[in-house]
Each structure stands twice: as C-alpha cells, then as structure tokens.
C-alpha cells in the first residue's frame, strides 16, 4: 500500500452554521422514542463566556452496547440506531442532543467501559476539534478504564448531571474547571 501523508486540520471558522447543521442533527433518535432524553449544556471559553459559534458532535453505542459499523468484531449491530448527533450552539452557548443511554462497551484487557459517549467540539478559534467523553452520574463508573487514567480531581468534568429531562453536560474549553480533553 502506498504511504500517503495526511491532510492538516483547519478551524471551522465563524460560519459553520451555514453548512453543517441538519434539521434532524440533534436527534440521535426521533422525538417520541421510548427512553429518549436530552443531554443539554453550555460551551464556555476561558473567561467563562458562552461560545455561540461552536458545534457539538456525539458518537455512541446503542442501548445494547453495539455499533452499526463493520469494524465491530462482535458483528455489526442491526436496527436503525444512528449513534450520531450534531448540534451547533445557540447565541447563549447552549446545545442539546436527544438520545438513548448507550450500553456498556468492552474495553482493553478484559475490562468493561462504563456507559459513555464520545464527543467532538468544533469552533472558531479551535484549529482542530477537541475530543471529550460524556459519562452519566447515575451509572456505575467505578471500573471504567478511561476514567481511571484521568486525574481524580478532574474526572467530574466528564460526568453529566441528572436533570428533569435528561442530563447536563457543560464544556469548558479553558480555565476554571476546564473539561478533560483526550488525544485519540
């Protein structure tokens, strides 16, 4: 196989909202799906000000822990679960994703990962996406192999808090309570 050199990343700039949002982007599952809930939050910058031109993307397993993808060695999950959500932030920095709780997923060396969602954050001023994860405060996260590698005092930034219609997951790009971001 030929070795090719990768294309660099560039910022989405200030005008991603003309190109990337879809009408059904925030709906990982259609409204009215039994068990569906909203993950809502605010993206903030180093001053704590809302970021009105960011976009959140989510990718997750289905409620049984499966992925509708050929590279899942347990077999590609069946069903219509899209697994993917996308929502630009509003003028007040808020976003919302309607989804179902992902199932636990196997990790390395016989471990099991707690229920989680992978997140990409894009914005003007971010020359590359930043990647984080959402965990859920009412689930058992104690044996998760990824959380175990995160300094204990920062783990809280990855754990979504229970709310009336789902969970709250805020993203702090910089500064006090800066969200833990991952290199993948």
């Amino acid at each position: 196989m030929t070795e090719l050199l990768p294309t660099p990343s560039q910022t989405v700039g200030p005008y991603l909202s003309i190109g990337l949002p879809w009408p059904d982007g925030p709906h990982v599952v259609p409204e009215g799906t039994p068990g569906a809930f909203w993950i809502r939050g605010t993206v903030r910058d180093g001053n704590g000000d809302p970021v009105p031109d960011a976009m959140i993307e989510t990718w997750q397993a289905d409620p049984d822990g499966g992925f509708r993808h050929p590279d899942d060695p347990r077999g590609e999950a069946s069903g219509e679960f899209r697994g993917f959500g996308r929502c630009p932030t509003e003028a007040d920095g808020t976003y919302g994703i309607l989804t179902l709780l992902p199932g636990p997923v196997p990790g390395e060396h016989g471990t099991t990962q707690a229920r989680h969602i992978d997140v990409s954050v894009f914005a003007r001023g971010l020359l590359n996406r930043v990647v984080t994860r959402i965990y859920f405060e009412d689930q058992d996260n104690s044996a998760d192999p990824v959380l175990a590698t995160v300094p204990e005092e920062r783990r809280g930034t990855l754990i979504a808090a229970k709310t009336e219609d789902g969970y709250r997951f805020d993203v702090r790009l910089q500064g006090d309570g800066e969200t833990v971001f991952f290199a993948v």
């Binding site: 070795e3 990768p6 294309t7 660099p8 003309i18 196997p106 060396h109 910089q174």
Partner: protein, 245 residues
C-alpha cells in the same frame, strides 16, 4: 468462568509531527480564550473510537453537489469543478463517505447573519454542498470560486480564498475538518490560519492543484484536491467473555 477471546480492532496511526496546528496559536487571536491549557489525556483506541457514523444517501438533496444549481438563476463568479479522492494514509479509498462543504460567494461574503462586511450577497448562491464518495473514493463538486475576505484578526487582514471541507472517514478517529485553498494565492503569507500548520510541506497539502484535464471547455475551470485521513493497521486486544452456557 471466563475465556479469553481475541478482538481484532483496527488501529489508526498518529500523523507525523507538524501535520496539525497547535490548539494555541497566538497569531490567530481567537485561539487565545478557546484552547485547552491542560494536557490532553491519551484515549486508547477502543470500540467507540474505531467505529463512527456511516451516513448515507439519505443526507443528500438533488443539487447538493452542484452549488451553481441551487437557485432560480446562476450565481456570479468563476464557475469551477473541484474533484478529488478521499483516501486513508495507506492509499485506500474511503467509499460512500459523506463530504460536506461551505464557502463564501465570489465576492467573499458568506450567507450568514454574522458576516457584515460591505460585499453583496448573491441571491443565487448559498455556498453549501454535500456529496458521497464513490467506489474509488472520488467526489466532485461544481461551484464558483470563492472570493477572499477581510477579517479583524490583525491590521489589514484578509483570508485567502478557501472552501471548508468536513469529512468523516470510517471511524471517529478519522474525523477531519479542513480548508481547501487555491494555488499561488498571494495572501498566504499573512494568513495565520494557513500558517498555523507547522510543517510547510503539510501546509501545501491543503492547496488544490489546477488540472486542465478536469477543466471543461467553454464551461468551468478544474481543480484537484485529495484528502488523506489517518491510516490504519490491525492490532489485537484480548477480551474476557462469558462462556456460552
């Protein structure tokens, strides 16, 4: 009882040093308050990372790959064809994969309420396109050449003409948003976004190539722009699985 079962997952290699921009880049002022200052934590590539959304034809409308046909009339400006292949680092085509683009019009104005500089909107141009790659990883858009535009990053700052590209590849690890530039743009030297890429050769990989073979007589100029994502190799990890009853 548990028996070890081998899981074979693809593993996506790291890009060479200097390929991607640093998150903090003082020349691009908007990074100042928006880039994380804590170290990134290494996330091993597991199932969630080596899979990703496979978004199909349901995302596409009829004229999504021809930005000159989305309105009653034709947009102003130089009509161009932009084509290329979506490949992974091993040269494999990424097939049936969604590519999304957005851009300014011929005068350098975006159809966005936040873009207020005094260059007119074009009623016949939205500046948004989508397509799927074919079995060879190829995509093609017909559009008009975007204009350069001023911004307030530094004194007399102008962005070189560019088209924003968003691609998914096959896995969460491969997600990429970039910008395609045009050859020999005199504005490159003063643009901090273009120059945020440390490796000069990597920077050039964002510049499309004029291709007279793609140019259509009496119709449109042709540009080639290949997009290369992280390559993959197979690796193994072990997983303990409950024995079947």
């Amino acid at each position: 009882m548990a028996t070890p079962t081998e899981f074979r997952l693809p593993r996506y290699g790291q890009e060479p040093e200097g390929t991607h921009p640093p998150l903090g880049f003082p020349g691009y002022r908007s990074t100042a308050l928006r880039h994380p200052k804590q170290d990134l934590v290494l996330l091993p590539q597991m199932l969630t990372e080596v899979t990703g959304p496979l978004l199909g034809p349901g995302r596409l409308g009829e004229h999504d790959n021809d930005l000159t046909k989305q309105h009653e009339g034709e947009p102003q400006g130089q009509r161009i064809i932009v084509t290329g292949r979506l490949l992974d680092g091993d040269g494999r085509p990424v097939r049936d994969s969604l590519i999304e683009i957005w851009q300014a019009n011929a005068g350098g104005r975006y159809r966005h309420t936040g873009d207020r500089w005094p260059s007119p909107l074009d009623p016949n141009f939205t500046g948004v396109g989508r397509t799927l790659t074919d079995s060879d990883g190829r995509y093609t858009f017909t559009t008009i050449k975007p204009g350069a535009y001023p911004w307030k990053n530094h004194d007399n700052a102008w962005r070189p003409a560019h088209i924003h590209f968003s691609v998914f590849g096959s896995a969460f690890t491969q997600r990429l948003v970039t910008q395609m530039y045009f050859p020999d743009d005199p504005l490159f030297y003063q643009d901090p976004i273009f120059n945020s890429i440390p490796d000069e050769k990597a920077r050039q990989r964002m510049v499309s190539r004029y291709d007279h073979e793609i140019t259509q007589a009496e119709w449109a100029l042709g540009f080639q722009f290949d997009i290369v994502l992280r390559g993959r190799d197979a690796s193994v990890f072990e997983e303990e699985e409950d024995e079947d009853e």
